[in-house]
């Protein structure tokens, strides 16, 4: 915390520090944003769900762990992992949006609105996602008007489950905006829409970002559950291979390792983001 300048602006000349550039002129905002958009587009357009996980070699039955077989499984696992990631990202989009609505509903001054929202949040938060997914599946099957693919059920299930978590984060973020900001907005005669979009949200959201990121990672850890619905994710891959080749060790361990390969860097990036935001707020 010694130098109050963000990275990149320090190079000898303090006058180059321009904190009030628009967001699209700040590389530290634009570059991560572009990366996110690219990942998003790839997952949405480039990943197909195929439940075809057939191996082209058999492991040596005498060994408990066959390395050749293990490496052979890697591409299959990667395909499953991408489907899991896709479900996570789409589900999280629902969660981040719905969460904000829930947060607004819970903060509402109308009791008829805030109490049911609070009850619903509490209920969804304290029941397991597994049961919720089964419930959603049963609901979709028993309603004729609804027909959803398994991956859509998973997305909606994840979305609703994590929306309740996100709403708590948003609520904390909104509450962390000082009261004076509201009063200033009133004094300036800003309407509710302007107050929210130009005053409250820009200050609340950066505080919330690390928490949202944590929920994204948590959602990614829950997304393999989709295999109970038939979503060909990473656990579906492991179960299929186990069922076809009768080799349980390699696929499950590979699934675990593949998971860590994605979730550890994500967690690390989040911690950096958290530190960075804390850093920006101190100056």
């Amino acid at each position: 915390m010694s130098a109050p300048w963000p990275r990149g602006a320090v190079d000898g000349d303090h006058l180059s520090y321009r904190p009030h550039r628009r967001w699209f002129r700040r590389p530290d905002v634009v570059v991560p944003l572009l990366v996110i958009v690219a990942v998003y587009a790839y997952l949405l357009l480039g990943v197909e769900e195929t439940s075809f996980f057939r191996t082209r070699m058999t492991a040596k039955g005498t060994e408990h762990f066959d390395w050749m077989y293990f490496w052979h499984l890697v591409p299959l696992m990667w395909r499953g992992l991408l489907v899991t990631a896709k479900a996570t990202v789409m589900g999280f989009t629902i969660a981040a949006t719905l969460g904000f609505v829930l947060a607004l509903g819970r903060r509402s001054r109308l009791r008829i609105l805030s109490w049911p929202t609070a009850a619903a949040i509490e209920f969804v938060r304290s029941t397991p996602l597994l049961v919720q997914l089964f419930f959603a599946q049963a609901l979709v099957r028993s309603t004729d008007a609804l027909s959803l693919e398994p991956i859509s059920i998973l997305m909606v299930g994840l979305g609703v489950h994590y929306a309740t978590y996100c709403s708590e984060a948003y609520r904390a973020g909104i509450d962390s905006v000082p009261k004076g900001q509201w009063e200033a907005a009133t004094a300036l005669n800003l309407g509710p829409a302007t107050t929210w979009s130009r005053v409250i949200v820009p200050q609340a959201v950066p505080n919330v970002l690390p928490a949202l990121g944590n929920f994204l990672v948590a959602g990614f850890k829950d997304a393999p559950l989709g295999f109970i619905l038939g979503v060909p994710g990473v656990l579906f891959f492991a179960n299929t291979v186990r069922g076809e080749d009768f080799r349980p060790t390699e696929p499950y361990i590979l699934a675990g390792i593949g998971f860590l390969m994605l979730s550890l860097p994500a967690a690390w990036a989040l911690r950096r983001l958290e530190r960075r935001i804390a850093y920006e707020r101190t100056d």
Binding site: H64, T127, V131, F134, D222, G256, F259
Partner: protein, 245 residues
């Protein structure tokens, strides 16, 4: 209201399942607390390699998904280590406990760090050994900070116990699926949504009970720190006079 209830014999099955769920919760909570304390303290150790080991454990336990970890431990590890038919409940508890330990260790570390340095320094000045310092000075104060997030974590573990049904333990979730099989077998036109709605309510009630228990614990602790010196643990007096409070 009648349409939202099950038959009595089905509730009996659910009751048995709930007991299994509670049993798994208790075991994995016990293991999780032990691991959290051990690794949470180890992450603040003076020895570098101890810190390293604890960091690796925490990162792995938090990075891997509990469901994947459950399958790895319940399916892959017994074969890899040539253990015969191990108890599935035990393996499930180990997986959930390891997972909880990772999150719990971070809670413990954070709360120990939140204790003012002066407390440790005072304990050193009073010539307490590092173990005494931890046991009688730091941890009792850290407990107040640990409890609220630990309550949330316990609810997360309660939710995690539903996963053991996937490896074949007859917990409440598996009981529900058994009831479903029964319904299919008898060709009763029962609504599955009702069944799972009932399960959701059971989990909700359990979570509220846990929540309440932790709230009560917090209140008791808070009272202990508000000058009620008579309630201080007796053990403190062995450590030296004038500590605590």
């Amino acid at each position: 209201m009648d349409g939202w209830l099950l038959e009595p014999n089905q509730y009996e099955l659910l009751r048995q399942g709930t007991l299994v769920t509670l049993q798994i919760l208790a075991y994995s909570f016990g293991l999780g607390v032990v691991l959290s304390l051990a690794f949470g303290v180890a992450r603040l150790s003076e020895r570098r390699w101890v810190r390293g080991v604890a960091l690796v454990y925490v990162e792995l336990a938090r990075g891997i998904s509990s469901i994947v970890l459950l399958f790895v431990i319940a399916v892959a590890v017994p074969i890899l280590l040539d253990v015969g038919q191990a108890s599935l409940i035990l393996l499930g508890c180990v997986a959930l406990g390891i997972n909880m330990g990772g999150y719990g260790a971070e809670i413990v570390r954070g709360s120990i760090q939140a204790i003012p340095r002066g407390q440790s320094e005072a304990a050193i000045a009073l010539n307490l050994s590092p173990t005494q310092r931890l046991r009688h000075v730091v941890l009792p104060q850290a407990l107040r900070i640990i409890l609220p997030p630990m309550g949330n974590l316990t609810i997360e573990i309660l939710k995690g116990t539903s996963l053991v049904s996937l490896i074949g333990v007859t917990d409440i979730m598996q009981a529900a699926r058994n009831i479903r099989q029964q319904q299919l077998f008898n060709a009763t036109a029962a609504d599955v949504t009702v069944l799972f709605a009932n399960i959701l309510v059971v989990y909700f009630v359990l979570a509220q009970v846990i929540n309440l228990a932790f709230r009560l614990g917090e209140r008791r602790l808070a009272r202990r720190y508000e000058g009620a010196a008579a309630e201080l643990p007796v053990a403190v007096e062995h450590a030296g006079a004038g500590i605590g409070g």
